[in-house]
Each structure stands twice: as C-alpha cells, then as structure tokens.
C-alpha cells in the first residue's frame, strides 16, 4: 500500500508542485494521476521512489516512511517506466532487462529465464534479446521499458506517461496489453497520464490533480464521470461531451448481462446464490409475466422473507430498445444497484446494463 499524508513538495525556486496531498493506494490497485500540464503528476510519482524528497508530510510504502529507507534499496523494489523508455543505449535488450536482478545479486541461472519470461510477458520475440535499444521501434522500446521495470519482481510499479511518445495505433495496442498485463501480474500501479480517456480506460481509480498540485477528486472512473466534484473536474473529464454522446445512442446498441434474475417467491438462499453467481449483491426480481418488479439486496433479505417483498420499494425504472443511453445513465445512477434493467419492446425482461458499461460506451464509441 502507498499512502501520501499531507505531502507537500516545494522546489528551491518556490514552485509548489504538490500541495498537502492525501492519497491512499491499496495493494494491487491501479491508480491514474491525471491533470493539466505542470500540476505535479510527475513530482508526485517521483516522491514515491525518492527521486524527489517531500518538503512536508510523508509518503508511506507498505507502512514505511520512505524517507527512512535507503533510497537505492527502496528503488530496487519499485519498478519505474518513463516516456522515452530511458533504456540504456549501450546495453543489449537482455542486459537492460537484467538490470535490477543483477543489482539484487540474483544468480545467473535465475536471471536468464527471467529475461525470457519478461520478454514473453510484454509480447516481444526472444530474438530481440541480443539487439541494442536503437534497433527497436518506439513501441518495442516501450515494452522493454516495462519488462525492465518488472524484472526485479517489484510489488509496486510507477509509470510516467509511458505511452505518450508512440503513435496512436501503437498506443491503443500497448494500452490493451497493459490491461491484460495488470490482470496477470497484480502489482500496485501508479500511472501518470494527461490523457483522460487513457485514465478512464486503464485505471481502477483516478486522482485528478489541479494546477498548484492540489487533489481535485479521487475515485473510480464512473464515479468521477457521474459525480464530478466541481466544474474543474467536470470540464476536465469532458463530462458534457460524454453526456452528449450518450444522448445520441440507444439502449439496443449495448449488450446486456443476464443479471441472474429471481422470481418474487425466491427465498434468501436462492437470492444469495444468484447474487454470488452474478458477483454483485443486487439481483433483479422478475415475475412470471416477465415484468421487472425491482431490485433485491441479497445482503438485506432475511430468512422467511421473499425477494418480491423487498423489491417493491426500490427503483423499478427500465429502459427499452429505443431509450437513449442518457436515460439509461440517469436510471442507473439513481438505482442503488448502479445498473438498469433492459426490457424489450413489449416490456419483457432482457437483462441488465451496468453503469460501467454505459460510461464505457460514452467514452469509447
């Protein structure tokens, strides 16, 4: 876990790059730092591995104040990826990737397989191992940068605009690979970008920084889109743009998830099972007539009661094929389940559309 406690960074020339930042990043989470140029994203990131020293407050990594840890030891346990990859031009790809394992004093027999493993992880052919960085394309170099950062098996990975210097097509591919990678390697990742779309696409959470190094909002992408803290955040994430786009799309353009509906007579046990299978506590209640009757909270359904009894009082808004996604968004936002039920033209239950799905549609279509 990484924690910023009232962290301030004031440079010698008086610039306040980070101002009393409080931020907590849980293990295994990917947090995106976004904000306009000069708002202190890079500085915040570099405070974690002590490439910059805080002038106020403290940064904790796994409960330990980083200022109390030897910086070289600290850094060997934290992967770091930068925009231009920063590969060592005089070392072959293999040597670049082996940098931290060598510093950590790994046995040669352990390093070689690790290099191969890392190349595979980032989707590079083993034949590049013997090349020098300049013999690789920009996208390949960026992959090597990631491989090098991961080779020492650090629990934490810091990335500073890693995909900013490659062309849009390569970037989209690297982003997709990043999503796959982060599922496999389970690292705590802090990722700096000035591209909101990238932040929304790649982050579990987003921290939006303002000019002057202040935290404007911190939360899950959908939360920020749905409830921007202020007009700065709303403008920054382009909420208007997203809403307009959603208003132009209809519900039938989205796939539904089954949602595991239960009938009104279902007891706590059956509702619990359905919820567990769906992976979320809210279960739609659908009658024999295939009408949606409301949401049932599996956590609140006590023995002896039925799903139908709980469902009645809750939001029963649904969207049909012709309704816009804007309507769907409002419905999903007002429902505690953070989802909306989709019905067909005749009003029969079809499935569930989640808030995430709607937000994604607004951002990516």
């Amino acid at each position: 876990m990484i924690r910023f406690e009232k962290v301030t960074k004031r440079f010698a020339d008086g610039t306040t790059a980070v101002d009393a930042l409080d931020l907590e990043i849980a293990d295994g989470e990917t947090v995106m730092l976004v904000g306009p140029s000069g708002c202190g994203k890079t500085t915040s990131l570099r405070l974690i591995n002590r490439l910059e020293e805080a002038t106020g407050g403290r940064v904790l990594v796994n409960g330990q104040d980083v200022s109390q840890v030897d910086p070289t030891q600290l850094r060997r346990g934290i992967g770091y990826v930068i925009q231009h990859a920063g590969l060592f031009p005089h070392r072959r790809i293999e040597g670049n990737i082996a940098t931290v394992p060598r510093l950590l004093g790994w046995a040669r027999a352990k390093i070689q397989p690790k290099v191969d493993d890392m190349l595979e992880t980032v989707g590079l052919d083993r034949t590049v191992a013997q090349r020098f960085p300049h013999q690789l394309s920009g996208g390949q170099q960026q992959r090597v940068g990631v491989a090098r950062a991961l080779a020492g098996e650090p629990p934490v990975l810091l990335m500073d605009e890693p995909f900013a210097a490659v062309d849009p097509i390569v970037r989209a591919r690297l982003q997709q690979e990043f999503l796959d990678l982060k599922k496999r390697v389970r690292k705590t990742i802090v990722f700096v970008t000035h591209d909101v779309d990238e932040a929304i696409k790649l982050g579990d959470k987003i921290a939006i920084l303002k000019e002057g190094g202040q935290l404007a909002q911190y939360g899950r992408p959908v939360e920020i889109l749905a409830r921007p803290a202020d007009s700065f955040v709303a403008d920054f994430v382009g909420r208007e743009r997203t809403l307009k786009r959603l208003a132009l799309m209809t519900a039938d353009s989205l796939d539904v998830t089954p949602g595991n509906p239960v009938d009104p007579d279902a007891d706590a046990e059956r509702v619990g099972a359905a919820a567990a299978e769906a992976g979320q506590p809210w279960v739609p209640v659908v009658g024999e007539d295939r009408r949606f009757q409301g949401w049932c909270d599996s956590r609140r359904l006590v023995n002896g009661h039925t799903a139908g009894q709980l469902a009645g009082g809750l939001s029963i808004a649904t969207v049909g094929p012709g309704d816009t996604l804007r309507t769907a968004l409002d419905a999903a936002l007002s429902a505690e389940s953070r989802s909306v039920v989709r019905v067909d033209a005749a009003g029969n239950y079809l499935g569930v559309i989640t808030l995430e799905r709607i937000a994604e549609a607004g951002l990516w279509s």
Partner: protein, 215 residues
C-alpha cells in the same frame, strides 16, 4: 643527389629503434599522466559546475602557451630532463582530455540517467556502468586527438635534449643532412597514423552499440 642515404639508415638502425621507443614512451606516458589528471578534474567539474569555466579557461591558457616557451619556462625547475619534457607534454593533453571527458559525460541523456537512478544504481554504479560507457565515444575522440598531437609535439622536446625521433631532426639540421630528418618525419607520422587507427579499433571494440548504430 639521392633523397635518402640507405646506408646511413642501415648503420643506425639501432639508434633509430631506440629513439622510436623513446618517442612512444614519452607520448604514451604523457597521455597516461594527462588522463590520470584530467579524469578526476573532469569529475570535479561535473560535480561542481562552477569549476568548469575556470578549469577550461586555465587549461586553455596553458594550451596557448607556445610549446617551446613552456618547456623553457620549466627548465629552471626540472632542468633538461625527461621530467621537463613529460610535464610539458602532459599539460598539452589536459585541455583536450578535460573538454572531451566533461562534454562526453554531460552529453549522456538525462532520461537514461534518471532511469539508472530509478532502477537503484548507486552514484558509483551510475558513473561506471552508465555515464562512462556512454561518454566513451567522446572520450576516445579526445584521446585520439591528444595522442596525435602529443606524438607530433614530442619532437619539439628534442630542443631540450629529449624528443625521441625529434633528435633525428636536430642531427640532420646541424649537419645539413636530409636522411635523418626524413626518417624521423616518416616514422613519427607513421606512428601517429597507426596509433590513431588502433584507437579507432579499440573504440569500436569498446562501444559495439555505437557501431551498429551506423553513426
């Protein structure tokens, strides 16, 4: 009249060989001493950038002192000795070496240095594993210029009784006899060319990444 009297050359092969060896010794030692002084000076100049200007200025002034004058200035202290010759020659290598070492180290990409620091390399590891290897092409270029310059300059020290092959010039001029002059000239030029070629070879062996870059 023949340009070169081969019989003289044949009779003096031993002497010529000795002078040749002495020439290499003087130039080689001057380079080694020059590097040994220039290297720490350069590191200091990088560590304290305010030193760099005055340092270059000082070594620059030394460089502009006419070579003969410099040797003569040293005579009161070190006499007509090998030391005088070596000190003078060493001073001449300094400017070239300091400038190239400093520029070479300063030319290392800040991104690369930043990455090295972030990977957890210590200051010393960064210097020897990253900065020096990357500055090597520039440093080697300095060594080449210094070597060629010094090999030429050694001959001047013949005037203070040293000078390796330069002594052949003095011999030839005083007797108005061309052969030793030509032999001395050809050998010292050949030495410079060969040393330069060897250094180029050494450089490509030491910097394979640079070569394959086609730069």
């Amino acid at each position: 009249m023949e340009l070169i009297r081969w019989s003289w050359v044949g009779r003096h092969l031993d002497d010529i060989g000795w002078l040749f060896v002495e020439h290499i010794q003087l130039a080689g030692l001057a380079l080694v001493f020059g590097f040994a002084i220039a290297f720490p000076l350069s590191l200091m100049a990088l560590r304290w950038p305010r030193l760099y200007g005055p340092l270059l200025g000082f070594t620059g002034v030394l460089f502009t002192v006419p070579s003969l004058a410099l040797f003569i200035l040293l005579i009161p202290y070190t006499g007509l000795s090998k030391a005088t010759s070596l000190i003078g020659l060493t001073i001449y290598t300094l400017l070239i070496l300091v400038r190239n070492i400093v520029e070479g180290l300063r030319g290392v990409s800040p991104h690369v240095l930043d990455a090295a620091k972030a990977m957890g390399l210590t200051r010393t590891q960064r210097l020897f594993q990253v900065e020096l290897p990357l500055a090597l092409p520039m440093i080697m270029a300095g060594i080449r210029i210094a070597a060629v310059t010094t090999i030429g300059l050694v001959t001047v020290t013949a005037l203070i009784g040293q000078g390796g092959l330069g002594r052949l010039f003095i011999d030839g001029f005083t007797r108005d006899f061309a052969t030793p002059v030509i032999v001395g000239f050809v050998l010292s030029v050949a030495l410079a060319v060969v040393v330069d070629l060897l250094l180029v070879r050494l450089q490509s062996a030491l910097t394979p990444w640079h070569d394959e870059a086609g730069r």
